[in-house]
Amino acid sequence: AFAAKPLTIGFSQVGAESEWRTANTASIKDAAKKAGVNLKFADAQQRQENQVKAIRSFIAQRVDVIAFSPVVESGWDTVLREAKRANIPVILTDRGVKVSDESLYVTFLGSDFVEEGRRAARWLVEHAKKNPNRAYNIVELQGTVGSAPAIDRKAGFAEIMKTEPRLKIIRSQTGDFTRAKGKEVMEAFLKSEGKNITVLYAHNDDMAIGAIQAIEEAGLKPGKDILVVSIDGVRGAFEAMLQGKLNVTVECNPLLGPQLMEAAKAVKAGKPVPKRIVVQEGVFPAEVAAKEFPNRKY
């Protein structure tokens, strides 16, 4: 009797603001199809209020499980309480939430942005240990001001960076996670700091790719004159690494679909699930790029 009706999941996505996000969506849709799950997908166009609206409509439609990637961490108490009252379990993906009552969601499945920032910094610290004579003057391209990944990736990086006094951030500006802005800001940095810059840390690959163009146009060699470190691990980053223009990308895995479906089924079947499901993620320096490149799905 239980299997007669397929499981219905209502999923509220943030939007389609980046390739990473698109890959994330595609993975979830594919996995749902494979698992025979009826997926109700709603796109929030990057706005929290739209996500809340979508969740409310999922509750009205009485879906079996609600999953969503929160736009921001805070502000979910009320609507999650409504879901709880309606006995619909909630799974978070990609980003966590801050709520007064942890029981409002069953599990959180996703990456840890702070950890990503730390990993990027750790790679640099290692690099610095191997090159005692090199200067490490870092320019940072932040994500959208106020967004969770920007805040966390900055914080994680800063935390580890402190352990190595030769690492200094000399400039930090937002590049809105886009190639065009990343390039524009990098151009300005290159004019005002010139050869002083030896490291670029970008909060995502797109900004790094844009900045790499700016570095080349300034007649410098990205990857050599200026080390380039970024986060996400999208296809474009691997291409850049193959050409030796990017030194390392810290993976932030968007392929959460299969794990989400599994968790949803387990929740519905009443099996216990851990409060935090960690996603498998790696750090890919340029040396392994060639080997890894064929495996990339996004």
Partner: protein
């Protein structure tokens, strides 16, 4: 260039009438010129840069072309200037076009997808191959932009929708269409010749600058040597009277939207050529607001009527200089917006007649 020009002919006829005494000094005439205040604002910004940012005005030759902050500003402002030129005409007819950003995304996407391109390494020499001939792809992109303009124009002139709502439809849907084409991916272009448009150099200057100058020149010529400028202003100031005077108001309105969209299309090509890719979700985001801002900073009223193309160009330069200044000064990103808004406030207020009055009263 303002359309109601005071061309040399007038000066000549006036000079021919000896009875008319020349009262105004050159200086006071310059002060009264409509471009004076936008130019003064730009100069003030540059002065701040000069004082605070060492080497801001330094220009060097690198790889056979000019290299420096000023070059960057002009290069970066190019798409904005194009969009502002188109927007100026739309605003002059009392309209507004908020779909500019979406058109930028759409045209960039169409071009990038069609060109695509791959780099093939043959005997250690990279060879670039485009999927569709580049010119054809660019024509297709501009064609798509043109269609967008027709659509906007038809909604405004044909159906009589209010411009802001009519173009809101495309603003929302246009980006969606672009993303539909790319499946939400960023389309990267690997075809070297395409990059020339956005980051190439001609005679040591950015090629984008030549494109802007060409578009500006053609537009200015069109306005000067046809009655277009007069008609646009007439329609903008009093559409009823313009119709009764025999002007084809509907056709004119469709034209300005098509023109604006085509300019936006060119801006889109330029942006995607510059970053060697098309990002349907982010390309040209908020460009419409910047374009409108540029037009108003240049002294054109949003209520329609009198307009100044040159003013809009200066407006665009003001905006880009400001952005660049913020980056170069090392303003923390959290404060960007506050700085930007304060400067915009100051520039606007300093341009108003009332401010001048205040100043005079103080001095007296």
């Amino acid at each position: 260039m303002i359309v109601k020009e005071q061309p040399p002919v007038v000066a000549a006829t006036q000079a021919a009438r000896p009875a008319v005494p020349v009262k105004d000094s050159l200086l006071s005439r310059a002060l009264a010129h409509h471009l004076f205040r936008p130019l003064a604002a730009l100069a003030a910004l540059l002065l701040i840069d000069f004082l605070l940012i060492p080497g801001f005005f330094r220009l060097e030759i690198k790889d056979g072309h000019l290299y420096g902050s000023l070059v960057d500003i002009v290069n970066r402002a190019a798409p904005l200037m194009l969009a502002a030129i188109g927007m100026t005409l739309v605003i002059a007819t009392r309209g507004i076009d908020i779909s500019v950003g979406a058109v930028v995304a759409l045209s960039g996407t169409v071009a990038s997808m069609l060109i695509g391109g791959t780099m093939v390494i043959q005997d250690g020499v990279p060879v670039y191959v485009a999927e569709t001939p580049m010119l054809l792809a660019m024509a297709a992109a501009l064609g798509a932009a043109l269609l967008c303009g027709l659509w906007n124009g038809a909604l405004v002139a044909g159906l009589g929708l209010q411009p802001i709502v009519a173009t809101l439809i495309l603003m929302v849907a246009g980006r969606g269409l672009a993303q539909l084409l790319t499946d939400g991916q960023i389309v990267t272009v690997y075809y070297q010749p395409f990059f020339f448009l956005g980051s190439g150099y001609l005679f040591g200057l950015p090629f984008a600058l030549f494109v802007v100058v060409a578009v500006f020149g053609v537009t200015a010529l069109l306005l000067r040597h046809t009655a277009l400028g007069l008609f646009i202003q007439a329609v903008g100031i009093n559409p009823v009277a313009a119709r009764l005077a025999g002007i084809r108001t509907a056709a004119l309105i469709v034209f300005v939207y098509v023109f604006a969209a085509t300019c936006a299309g060119m801006a889109g090509l330029m942006i995607s050529s510059n970053v060697k890719s098309a990002d349907a979700n982010n390309a040209g985001l908020m460009l419409e607001l910047d374009a409108i801002l540029a037009v108003t900073l240049g002294g054109t009223s949003l209520a329609g009527g009198k307009f100044s193309l040159a003013g809009s160009i200066i407006g665009a330069l003001i905006i880009q200089t400001l952005t660049y200044t913020i980056y170069s000064l090392g303003v923390p990103p959290e404060v960007n917006m506050v700085v930007k808004s304060v400067v915009v406030f100051l520039v606007c207020v300093s341009q108003s007649d009332q401010f001048k009055g205040l100043w005079k009263r103080r001095a007296a």
